[in-house]
Amino acid sequence: MSISHSIAPYYKVMIERDSCKKCKRCTTHCSYGALSYNGERIIADNSKCVACQRCVIMCPAGAIHIIKNESFLPPHGNYTRRIRNAIWAQSGNGGVLLSAAGNDREIRSIFDDLLLDACQVTNPSIDPLRETIETKIFFGRKPSKIDFKRDTMNPNKICLKTEFMPNFEVDMPIMVGHMSLGSISYNAAMAIYQACKELNILAGSGEGGLHPDFYEFGSNIITEVASGRFGVDINYLHNAAGIEIKIGQGAKPGHGGHLPGEKVNSLISQTRMIPKGSDALSPYPHHDVYSIEDLAQLIAALKEATRYKVPIGVKIAAVHNSAPIAVGIVRGGADFLTLDGFRGGTGAAPRIIRDHAGIPIELAIAAVDERLRKENLRDEITLVAGGSIRYSADLIKAIALGADVAMCSMPVLIAMGCRVCQQCFRGLCSWGIATQQEYLVKRLDVDVARNRIINLFHSWNEELKEVLGAMGIDSVESLRSNRDRLRYIGPNPKIAEILGVKHAGE
């Protein structure tokens, strides 16, 4: 490749020579090989830097700064640096561009265009610190009605006739999304599961199986049955609070999965139940699900296999026709439905799909909730919504639009130390989160990470209660689908119409 086609480094490592003590700590901490010591001083290979900030934090002298390398390209508003770089990369190496994390295009967030209501005069707000505000929810399918029969002889005798399906009680309407061991490290997974057990909320296992060490957290884990069926055996099905059939993922709707063989060490091998070094490919579709009645069949099969003891759900990426698909899934017998919006995260996905496929979760929630209501199915199922729930405001708005539970992953990773460098697929995560290399995994202290996740979700839940209190609502179920308490301030009235939300001032 001639030099005229090489891509200018995105970042620049600045080392304050006066402060640098030449301790070389940065060179051991940089897992991407950007820093080295030449016998005289620390030198930086800017082309390898991913701005993960590990060296910046670890430098005892505070001598390192990462800045954006801006000076190279002539400006063009349409052919942005990103587009030009993509062309150079593909014309140089060929191939499909890989990416990780969630869609990073600057597309306006609909959540940020929604405002919350609060009480003034006509009803009192509630003090969340001193009066009870409830955030417990039930995860699973509910009957459309409960039948009671009063005894004809004794009116004080009532018999409950309805048989209930399994439901799992969680203390917050929050769920940690599906990240498999393989995409994240053992320590990261351990911290997440420990935190979820402590908080009594659910976490997803991801599609890569469940390591036997994590069986003890099974009652707080939704295991996933994806097209690759990795690690799916009876223990996996029985050690779960619920089972999710993964049809799609927000970051890569319609795409399969691929964990390269070099990442399949003995730990991953044990979890996925495949030989060490073997590629783990998830086929694009489930090859026993080519239509909606096949999905109903797989749902029924899982119910039979688990003897109807746990809820069985389905996850789909939010795509154009999510609403009718959702109806089919619910009619197919799913006890919960997970919608994953187009900003949802991933450990590895083709950039073209991550950045361009799917629809925003806000619109998907609104459309699915509305459609399920039209079919009088909505209240029977638990609707989980994810795909960039970034902070409690997103969670609150997702629920007000119609979700039962908000699902998130990136905030959990960020809480543990992730700097969102979007290089997860390389397996070199310097923070020990998205890597399988032992020396890197060790960097993530499970206790610290667990406590940070617990703190984060505690804070979110407190913020949820603050908002509920301000709205004069003492239980989160009265926020669900309560679009009356939202107003839109964005530029596009059509969005407000789809959301079923009035404009601010109306």
Binding site: I158, F164, N376, G472, D474, L479
Partner: protein, 398 residues
Amino acid sequence: MYWKNYTSLPKQFRNERVFDGCGISGYMNIDGKRENGKKIIDMITILNDRENGLGAGFAAYGIYPEHHDCYALHFLFDDEPSKSNVLDYLMDVGFIVQSEAIPTKIPPNVDNPPITWRTFFHPQEKKNLSEDEQVLQIVMNINENFEGAFVMSSGKNMGVFKGNGWSHEIAEFYKIQEYKANMWLAHSRFPTNTPGWWGGAHPFNLLNTCVVHNGEITSYGTNKRYLESFGYKCTLHTDTEVIAYLFDLLCRKHEMPIEISSIALAPPLFKEIERFEKNYKIALKNIRATYRSAMLNGPFSIVVGLANPIPTMIGLTDRKKLRPLVIGVSEDDNTIYMSSEEASFRRLMLDPNINFALKEVWHPKSGTAIVATMGRGLSRNGLEKPLEKIELTIEGDN
């Protein structure tokens, strides 16, 4: 009285909901004895500090014994064409047994009063749809789609009389004193926005269910969307409407015992549920989970009249007890009174023409239903724990 906006909110206000504070009152004679409206008028007018002259109304049960098997449709019409449109429609979908003006006393200086009308009606027989369900659809259709017409009530042997004015004005206008009922509900209103509209006054009715409500339902959006999926149309721009429909859904459509449906609407806290024994805990948790969208949140006290199959009066407050409700029982145990304030009962004592004495007055617990049933008396006094006195069994669970 405001002699305008009879059948709909003025257009510029239609996007809004009306919030209000209110006085509510009601009483029932257990033996079914019918009394004229004198007492209920006294009970509600004494609460005039809670109203601002922008809406009041009465519901009376047992007033049409001669037509007890017909649906008594009470209407407000803006004009004659609106009236004939609706009556033509009714003749298409059923049979009108009798049709007449509701007698009113119109003050001399009013030149455009509403047409108040009542029709005793039977829907056509349909194999796959009950009469109640048909009438429900007819009412929803008229209120949503017929300009200049509003159905005030649609139950049997009962009726709602309401409008935009002070409670004493409304009582006088409809000649409430001349009706004889065995259960009376009344409401006086303090809405936040002017002008109110006649149809938006309380009581809210659907079939035999009537609700008078004080407070504001903060879960309105959730409840509304839940009801819409069962075919109810929330078009009246007020939160009270959803309470009436929820009672109709739970008590009539889902055939839920009243002790249970009141729990669905104002459930105990989870920490309280945890203290219950096994069967009760299962029932209470599943009621909360299944009817999570029916739960009423925010401040409210309500008095509800039901008449299916037997007249029943229910009092209920929100579970944080943010709105007042007081209960009284007459000395002979035959009359149950409910009101926002005890003054409603005391007012009756001041009237030398009424032989009135109370045996007991008490304040019910928050979120706990008071249930009085005609012929049976007080079955829940509002002081019990949820499901107290109920022997609950679970089918298939020995």
